[in-house]
């Protein structure tokens, strides 16, 4: 039940887990555990998604059309039948971009007030 009428901006702000999942599948399709590993690697182990958070987020993202489940499977020797693979949709990518823009603006404003390190 994708809600086609929504514009990327209308999803903002994104829950952090959603944003991380979008980043995890930005470059390649991944299965659930792959997403957890990718997020953990990118954040240096700071964020370890739990299975519940992950799949709940995935379900919502599927519903909203940010992800799709892909039918393409990797090479059989790398595959596990139980796994499902998720791919980012163009809407998902647009939403992630919008969220990143929103955050960078926030950081810029925060910097101007000295709340964040870096050039004012």
């Amino acid at each position: 039940m994708a809600q086609k009428s929504l514009q990327p901006d209308e999803f903002l702000p994104l829950p952090p887990a959603t944003f991380h999942i979008l980043m995890a599948v930005a470059e390649e399709d991944r299965h659930g555990y792959g997403i957890i590993q990718d997020v953990a690697a990118r954040t240096g182990g700071e964020l370890k998604l739990s299975a519940g958070t992950l799949y709940r987020s995935i379900q919502r993202m599927l519903d909203k059309g940010l992800l799709i489940e892909t039918a393409e499977r990797p090479a059989p020797e790398l595959d596990d039948e139980r796994r499902r693979y998720y791919r980012i949709t163009p809407l998902g990518a647009a939403v992630a971009k919008a969220e990143a823009t929103r955050m960078s603006k926030l950081v810029k404003w925060a910097r101007a007030l000295g709340f964040a390190p870096g050039k004012a």
Binding site: Y33, A51, G52, R56, Q59
Partner: protein, 850 residues
């Protein structure tokens, strides 16, 4: 692993089916600890449920908005069902369930003397004193006697209800005053200063909430009394009207007559003592006292009852139970009606649901979706129902007696809790069967031209309709029986004419008016000035107005010999002025009315009622006969018709009327006439300002209270019944409407599903009556089944209500026939439109559609 798998059951099963396996795999590879897993699931599972709920709610809002007619009908039906039950529950709760607001209310009991013919006779002070001293069952045994007093000097003189109490009453009840102190045993001595405690309401109303009232002296009936305490807002005892409490301060005289019964006994059982033990204890004490005072207490026994059971009489309880049963019937009918509507809707939506099933919505998701729909309907209906209940509640409050409990029936948290539970149960009740049925939807729904509605669904729908018809027949018959009972009671002749009679009370305070001459002057002046008002035909005074006061009963001794007290030789005693009998048009059969020449120095005259004359002098001339009554020998000068002193439903003692001038100084002061009756042409109430002025001029300190027409007094006697009958009749009408709608819906459905069959029949030459037979057969079967089941259930309900049916038999043929007739009529009305539609089936169109 099994641990995690078990935890996964907290997720919705559709989510578990989708992701469970993968989640297990992730759990395995990450090596999460059990504690972590538990926190994770507990945090996420509700969130997933919430996600689904939000989806379902959005979907529900859309589907319901698409079918505004269905939605409106469903919500209205629910609102009526839930509202009826909520309103009735608030009364039921107040009358039957809620404990009295005193500590351990189940240990509070009332005590009575018993004599033949009277199971509940008040105690005499001397018996009270002995019972209190001798019993081993009670922590404390107190006595109360309600009275009215005139409060003077706080604005206009006001008549307020008061209670004399023994000094230990508040130890019995276990309550504390809000301010000041309560009446203590030391206040209840003859020599103690006069003191009073006032209710919170009186403090606010009369004294404007001024804390300075404590310690102040107020004028009650001409005596100065110190206010020592103010009770908290919710305190009422022995009923809601009482606003002031004073100690009895008995003097030695009070204990002289063992048959001067006017105290209500109330006691608190010792912990561990049962009411049966206390009752046995009191009966032993009554035996001992009888041996000690064989003459006075020859037939006197003792009885102990739970206070609550005494305050709420059995008929009153039954009235409320019957109402609750009727409300429940309405709710059940509403539920089956809605279940039916939802089933019909589910059939209409079969394709949509099948499509959703194909798109991957599992059975659980479909059931959940439909469950959400019925719950939303139920909640909106419940909300509206509570509002309706709030609006309807004032109608119901007359059903509740005046209890020693806070307030009146109201929509409070308890009632709201009940409404919520009922709403949820209702949502489940009407939603679950259709949801489960639809859960079985298979892909057949998608087949082109598929026939909607299998035989089983139609069978289920018929069963639901049958239940509706049955319950509405039960309601209709019950309402009919209760209505017949009410009409029978209302048709009872009270023995007096109410039209054009206004009443009010001017209770003359004692000792100010202890002197007969002073009273006589007051009555004469007031009555003669009222007589001169335009339109006034008659006016008179009496000790107590009929149906307002049932007591005031005295033993009768005839012709010098004391009659056996076990035979219930008692009569009600009333002092009257000459105009009283004419004002109420109580017919004088033989002899004469009392008149102004029946003065204090003349022989003591009496007018007796017909039943009195018949009992003592059957087939003889009662005029000139003597009897001893209320201390004096009296001579019968006239015989009048009997009146219903105790109300239409209860049997009353024979009446004795005595001339007001033959009440010596200080004798029976409680009986000094205070009820004023005025017969006038037109609306008697228009006289009120003039009457007030006359009384105010006669005695500026004299308050006027209880202004009513006599018709209102008689109506009040049957008011709880009237209200109950009206409500049950409204319920029955509602039930009938719902059942007719149900039949209409079912038959319309039959006609539309069988239209091709009907078309074929028409094409083959079937006559209209053959077609009608197909349609009407179903409705007649439903009606017949409903009537048979309904009659059986209604008879059982009638048996249970027998004691409030006033002699109408629970199998009253007229009522049953009328109900059965109405039921068939309703069935016909419900079938009319579908039958006509069946006749208009066009064979060509119908067959082509296949």
């Amino acid at each position: 692993m099994w641990f995690y798998k078990a935890l996964l059951h907290l997720y919705p099963s559709s989510f578990r089916a989708e992701y469970g396996e993968e989640m297990c795999a992730v759990f395995e590879r990450r090596g999460t600890s059990r504690l972590e897993a538990m926190f994770e699931v507990l945090a996420n599972a509700p969130a997933v449920h919430w996600d689904i709920l939000r989806q379902d709610l959005r979907y529900t809002a859309r589907t319901l908005a698409r079918a505004p007619g269905f939605t409106a009908v469903a919500i209205l039906v629910l609102a009526l069902g839930i509202g009826a039950n909520t309103a009735v529950f608030s009364v039921t709760d107040y009358v039957l369930l809620r404990p009295f607001p005193f500590p351990s209310p189940d240990r509070l009991v009332s005590l009575w003397e018993t004599v033949p013919g009277y199971r509940h006779m008040e105690l005499s002070p001397s018996n009270y004193r002995d019972w209190e001293r001798m019993n081993r069952s009670f922590e404390n045994l107190a006595a109360v006697s309600t009275q009215e007093v005139n409060l003077i000097g706080q604005g206009a003189p006001e008549r307020i209800k008061a209670a004399y109490v023994t000094g230990n009453l508040f130890a019995v009840l276990g309550v504390q005053p809000q301010f000041g102190r309560f009446i203590a045993p030391t206040d209840d001595r003859e020599s103690a200063p006069h003191t009073a405690v006032i209710s919170y309401g009186a403090w606010q109303r009369v004294f404007g909430g001024d804390a300075g009232v404590l310690g102040r002296k107020v004028n009650l009936d001409g005596a100065l009394i110190i206010v020592i305490g103010i009770m908290p807002p919710g305190f009422h005892f022995p009923n809601q009207e009482v606003e002031l409490w004073m100690p009895f301060q008995f003097d030695a005289n009070a204990f002289s007559d063992r048959n001067d019964n006017y105290l209500d006994g109330v006691a608190r059982l010792r912990p561990g003592v049962t009411i049966q033990q206390a009752d046995a204890d009191m009966k032993v004490i009554a035996d001992q006292l009888r041996r000690q005072y064989p003459k006075e207490l020859e037939h006197t026994g003792a009885a102990v009852n739970l206070l609550r059971d005494d305050v709420i009489s059995h008929p009153r309880r039954l009235l409320v139970v019957a109402l609750a049963g009727a409300a429940l019937c309405v709710l059940l009918i509403a539920c089956s009606n809605l279940a039916n509507l939802l089933l019909a809707r589910a059939l209409a939506r079969q394709k949509e649901l099948a499509v959703r099933a194909v798109l991957g919505a599992g059975r659980e998701r479909l059931i959940r979706q439909l469950g959400t729909e019925s719950m939303v309907l139920s909640l909106v209906g419940g909300l509206l129902g509570v509002l309706l209940a709030g609006l309807g509640l004032p109608l119901l409050t007359t059903l509740g007696p005046s209890l020693p409990a806070a307030g009146i029936p109201a929509i409070d948290l308890r009632v709201l809790g009940f409404a919520i539970v009922v709403t949820i149960l209702t949502g489940i009740g009407f939603g679950v069967v259709p949801a489960l049925r639809v859960g079985r939807t298979d892909l057949n729904g998608l087949r082109e031209g598929s026939r909607s509605g299998g035989g089983r669904k139609a069978g289920l729908r018929s069963t639901l309709i049958l239940a509706e018809v049955t319950l509405s027949v039960v309601l209709l018959i019950s309402a009919g029986l209760l209505l017949r009972a009410l009409l029978r009671i209302q048709s009872i002749d009270p023995g007096f004419r109410t039209d054009g009679v206004m009443t009010l009370e001017t209770a003359l305070p004692m000792p100010k008016y202890e002197n007969l001459a002073k009273r006589t002057a007051f009555y004469r002046r007031v009555l003669s000035e009222i007589h001169d008002l335009p339109g006034v035909a008659d006016a008179g005074y009496i000790s107590f107005l009929p149906m307002v006061m049932g007591g005031g009963i005295w033993p009768v001794d005839v012709d010098g010999k004391t009659l056996d007290r076990s035979e219930n030789h008692t009569a009600s005693l009333r002092f009257i002025t000459p105009g009283f009998l004419a004002t109420l048009k109580i017919p004088l059969h033989v002899g004469r009315n009392i008149n102004e020449s029946d003065a204090a120095d003349r022989p003591m005259a009496a007018i007796v009622s017909e039943s009195f004359a018949r009992r003592y002098w059957p087939d003889q001339n009662p005029l000139g006969r003597h009897f001893k009554f209320a201390f004096f020998d009296r001579t019968v000068v006239g015989v009048v018709g009997d009146i219903h002193v105790r109300g239409l439903e209860r049997s009353s003692e024979p009446q004795v009327y005595l001339p007001y001038q033959q009440q010596p100084d200080g004798n029976l002061v409680f009986y000094a006439p205070k009820g004023l009756v005025i017969r006038a042409s037109g609306n008697p109430r228009r006289l009120l300002p003039a009457v007030r002025r006359i009384i105010q001029q006669a005695d500026p300190e004299q308050p006027i209270s209880d202004v009513r027409t006599l018709a209102e007094i008689v109506q009040a006697d049957t008011a709880p019944r009237t209200v109950q009958v009206r409500i049950i009749a409204a319920f029955a009408a509602l039930a009938f409407l719902l059942a007719a709608l149900g039949i209409h819906g079912l038959l319309s459905f039959t006609v539309s599903t069988r239209s091709s069959e009907i078309a074929v029949r028409i094409a083959l030459g079937a006559q209209p009556r053959n077609i009608l037979r197909i349609v009407l057969r179903e409705s007649v079967l439903l009606a017949a089944g409903g009537v048979i089941l309904g009659v059986a259930l209604a008879y059982a309900a009638g048996r249970a209500m027998q004691s409030i049916l006033a002699g109408i038999t629970p199998g009253d043929a007229a009522t049953f026939l009328a109900a059965a007739g109405l039921c068939f009529l309703m069935t016909l009305v419900g079938s009319l439109a579908p039958a006509l539609r069946a006749l208009r089936v066009d064979p060509i169109t119908a067959i082509r559609a296949e």
